[in-house]
Symmetry: C2
Subunit: 229 residues, 2 copies
DNA sequence: ACTGAAAAACTAGCATACAAGTTATTGACA
DNA sequence: TGTCAATAACTTGTATGCTAGTTTTTCAGT
């Protein structure tokens, strides 16, 4: 497991959460692998309590499974879960895009353009690692403008299912395409064209579609059996 | 505070959660009131640990606010929060209604009709307390048919903000209206009419609109100041 | 070598003790 | 009576011990 640096005034619980999430999305804690409060606590230099609290929180979004008195595991990849995360994001982002057309002030739009400027800069300097971060910031800003920050937070909670498979995909998303999308979206927001904004957002989110079958073929042991309906 | 009966194999944490939620929505734990892990634990006959875990979970949906080393409080009513909960529900329910038109089998539709049958029975026998429960079951069934159960669970998490003000409203929703809505919705689902199902669902959810100003006037001390944007 | 039961080594849930920080109280002094 | 500092009484965060349940291991008996 990769142990991150603990931030200045970060609580033990938040630290444990951050470390666990990082290791889960990067597959250092493999899907299906068993995890133990004791071991994790020892590795992070904490006691069981904050680690346990973090695990409980992760189990709420079904990325960790706790079997009382037996064991806890990192959840296997369940495409039903991934689909729910994507579905929720699609619906909320599109609705937010429309709302932003109504609500955005000139200052708001300037903030969005600033996001995009940083993304462009990032593209040219080939630090493509952090583009995802800037991408997230752009979308979060949209939710802020629409006054739907809590919805964004909840969404991010289950988004970890999606993020985990995103990292496994072979064909990475073309980054310049993403930034170009952002520019068009902001432009339609500026012209207050709700239906266009929604349509562009829908198209934009579709770029993140991933090759489920390909990943499943390469890592069959990471996948849960499809449940019967 | 109202202490509920502990269920057979219910964990301490789940029990604490249930008791806390119940007391929060029924205002026995008033908005803004201070709560202490120690006191709550004593009242429920538990130790701090499970109570604390429950409080952490409630703080995730911002219905409880934890100020480390200072105090914890029941959140004041924040209409921004209520709006987010309603927004999320509206969007997801409408999208799910469309999905159900595609996915519902005859068996699924029979399940929905059974829900409605029980609601009708309930209407006639004037046990109107539990109609909300049956109403919830109907909507949850829709999410199950659409294979979006986790989305439903997340939604229910912040729905507590909405439920709390719902109980404070003077003019109660006309119950027979709700059941009639359900019947029309199922009927459009049966005919696979997506746009009609969405429209009916939107109309249906609008029946839950509440008189914000009226409640605020009666219970000003329960409300948070409006934040500056 | 195989079977099966006892025992040891795990698991997470819960209780409790302590630490670190904040607030309320007390009481001396002006 | 009023001020202010010491202190006591809270708060939540974390560590640790104990309980109850499950799994694994051990080892006797065949």
């Amino acid at each position: 497991m990769r142990i991150l640096e603990r931030l200045p005034r970060e609580s033990g619980r938040d630290y444990a959460l951050r470390v666990l999430k990082d290791n889960i999305v990067h597959l250092d804690l493999a899907p299906g692998s068993q995890i133990s409060e004791n071991e994790l606590a020892a590795e992070m230099g904490l006691s069981r309590t904050p680690v346990r609290e973090a695990l409980i929180e992760l189990s709420r979004v079904r990325i960790v499974e706790i079997y009382p008195q037996k064991k806890s595991t990192v959840a296997l990849i369940d495409y039903a879960m991934v689909d729910e995360a994507r579905f929720m994001r699609n619906q909320m982002e599109c609705a937010v895009a429309e709302l932003v057309c109504e609500l955005a002030t000139e200052t708001d739009i300037a903030r969005l353009r600033e996001c995009i400027r940083m993304q462009r800069f990032n593209l040219e300097s080939y630090y493509s690692d952090s583009l995802m971060e800037l991408d997230n910031r752009f979308h979060e800003t949209l939710f802020q403008i629409a006054r739907k920050q809590e919805v964004y937070r909840l969404m991010q909670g289950i988004a970890i299912h999606f993020d985990r498979v995103r990292g496994m995909a072979l064909d990475t998303v073309k980054n310049h395409r993403i930034v170009a999308d952002h520019e068009m979206i902001v432009s339609t927001i500026g012209s207050r064209n709700k239906s266009a904004a929604r349509a562009l957002m829908e198209q934009h989110l579709n770029r993140y579609r991933i090759d489920e079958a390909g990943i499943r073929a390469r890592y069959p042991q990471y996948f849960a059996e499809k449940k019967q309906a």
